[in-house]
């Protein structure tokens, strides 16, 4: 039976992996995937805390559902913007997108 600590370590690892992807990846789509990992790390935390820290309550699980929904919205808006940027800038690599200085 895994304890709360196991879930927290898993979630922290997921978060750090996502963070690593965002910081090191040059491809805009890969950066979006890293952000999805970070959001899912938060979801693991929410559900685990709901089970161990506030048993019987629903708030954490409901919030996890809301986060999943908004992550889907974010992917939709994000991919649309990456596509629009690709049409005019002809690249999705963020280090080549430098009309203005960062």
């Amino acid at each position: 039976m895994p304890a709360l600590t196991h879930y927290l370590v898993l979630s922290a690892l997921l978060f750090c992996l996502g963070l690593f992807a965002v910081v090191t990846r040059r491809n805009g789509v890969a950066i979006l995937m890293g952000i999805e990992l970070m959001l899912n790390a938060a979801n693991v935390n929410l559900v685990a805390f709901n089970k161990f820290a506030a048993p019987g309550a629903m708030q954490g699980q409901v919030f996890a559902l809301i986060v999943i929904t908004l992550a889907a919205c974010e992917a939709a808006v994000g991919l649309a913007l990456v596509l629009a940027a690709y049409r005019s800038l002809e690249t999705v690599y963020v280090d080549e997108i430098n009309v203005m200085k960062w």
Binding site: A42, A53, A54, L70, L81, A84, A85, S88
Partner: protein
């Protein structure tokens, strides 16, 4: 969900309905063509109607005790009322100032107005949140439309770049915010802001609050989370820049207000120091970077960073004095920043935005009223009397002194002196003789009324601040 709940969010519903109507009108006018052709003022009138309806719905509700709805998630109290007022003022001025620009640069009017209204509703939700879940929802509803607004000019490479950068960094900051909510939930067993005050003082809570500050600090452009601001402000179409520069601050500081002085007063000793340090860094860096700018959009971006630092003084000081100063400053900031951007929106240099400082030369000769409004807004941004910016800064510094944060008030006053240089440089160029030949001034009655309203706000809040001061002080009565 009951009728009582729905009547509570009536202003937000009015905005959402107007956003749908603006989009449908756009589709109706465009017909089977692929590109939006709706460039008439119809969408602007629909949006303005939505804003006025929301203001009316806000006004008819009696200013009494706080009302709570949606199972304790949503609260409509004094703070909600002032935040709603600031957000609706930003939306109204944003709608009135942009039609000449949208027409000239052929931007899709329906989408612009729909996104603007939805973003406003998001900021209003942040101001009304009594639960971290609603705060998160409001943050997302505020920022998604802003990403798209930044990328609205589909043929402009700079606009596309701005949209993509804003989205990637914004989503990144949002992920931190969600993780912070999860940690706070784990530390306290609740996401209810009204019950966080009883949470045990464990390291997990502090870690969660730190993540929440990263998320909100990004939206408010606080140092060190401000890196996106200059590029996004410069690249985005100017009406979008003008609107996002104020609405993002209204939403983010409403969120910080709900979080720190209201929900977590027990963390004030530890987090007051932390926020004060961020405020000092933000004020110094924002003002020094603005000194070197020759592009007015970039200059106003760094000025926005600096003003975020000033407003954070009020959050760090906490208590009723700090909170009421924050609310007052938000109202003033909406009027003066949109007034300044509104004048720039009237100018055009050979089919491009006139966003260099020297493009303003000789404005007094060709559009005297616009030049005077610009000068008044610059004087107000610099914080000089008799404008609203002076009174607003006075309240903030007084709150800091009451909380025995002398260093904070001192840094604020000194950096304000630095800022006088770059604001008055813009004003003196606009009031000087000589003319930039290539720059044309467009006249529009719609934008003229908007500019007059912004200027009236800047002067009225500066000369007779009594009524609004009473409003914001009444709003924070519930705080100790």
């Amino acid at each position: 969900m009951t009728w009582a709940d729905l009547s509570l969010i009536a202003p937000e519903l009015a905005l959402a309905a107007a956003a749908c109507a603006a989009l449908l009108q756009d589709a109706w006018a465009t017909g089977p063509a692929l590109e939006s052709r709706s460039r008439g003022p119809a969408a602007a009138w629909i949006a303005l109607g939505g804003v006025c309806a929301a203001l009316l719905l806000l006004g008819v509700r009696p200013a009494g005790a706080a009302q709570v709805g949606f199972a304790g998630m949503y609260v409509r109290d004094g703070i909600t009322r002032v935040v709603d007022l600031a957000a609706l003022a930003a939306a109204g001025l944003g709608v009135m100032l942009s039609p000449p620009y949208l027409e000239r640069f052929r931007l899709p009017a329906g989408e612009y107005h729909a996104l603007l209204l939805l973003s406003t509703a998001g900021a209003m939700l942040m101001g009304a949140s009594r639960n971290l879940v609603l705060l998160f929802l409001g943050l997302e509803m505020l920022s998604f439309p802003l990403y798209v607004l930044a990328a609205l000019a589909r043929r402009s490479r700079r606009s596309q770049e701005a949209g993509l950068k804003y989205l990637l960094l914004g989503a990144f900051a949002t992920a931190f915010f969600v993780y912070g909510v999860a940690l706070v939930y784990g530390a306290s067993g609740t996401a209810d802001l009204s019950r966080l005050g009883r949470a045990p003082d464990v390291p997990l809570l502090h870690a969660g609050v730190a993540f929440l500050v990263i998320g909100l600090g990004f939206e408010a452009a606080l140092v060190p989370f401000h890196a996106w601001a200059p590029d996004v402000y410069e690249g985005a179409p100017m009406p979008a820049t003008a609107f996002m520069s104020v609405i993002a601050k209204v939403g983010a500081f409403a969120g910080l207000l709900r979080l720190f002085p209201q929900a977590l007063p027990q963390l004030a000793p530890a987090w007051g120091q932390m926020l004060a340090a961020i405020a000092v860094a933000t004020m110094i860096l924002g003002n020094l970077a603005a000194l070197a700018q020759s592009n007015v959009k970039r200059l106003l971006a760094y000025s926005g960073v600096a003003h975020a630092g000033y407003i954070l003084i009020g959050i760090a000081s906490g208590g009723p004095a700090g909170s009421s100063a924050v609310l007052y400053y938000l109202l003033v900031y909406v009027a003066m920043n949109l007034g300044a951007f509104g004048v720039l929106l009237l100018l055009e240099r050979r089919g491009e935005e006139a966003d260099r400082v020297e493009d303003l030369a000789g404005l007094l000769g060709r559009a005297p009223w616009a030049a005077v409004v610009l000068a008044a807004c610059m004087v107000s941004l610099a914080g000089l009397p008799p404008t609203a910016g002076f009174i607003a800064k006075l309240y903030l510094f007084r709150a800091a002194l009451q909380d025995h944060r002398v260093a904070l008030a001192l840094v604020g006053a000194l950096t304000s002196v630095v800022s006088v240089y770059y604001y008055l440089r813009v004003a003196s160029v606009a009031l000087s003789a000589g003319a930039a030949d290539a720059v044309a001034v467009r006249h529009s009655r719609f934008a003229g009324v908007g500019l007059a309203l912004a200027a009236a706000g800047v002067l009225w809040l500066g000369i007779v601040p009594g009524a609004i001061t009473a409003l914001v002080q009444q709003a924070v009565q519930a705080l100790r």
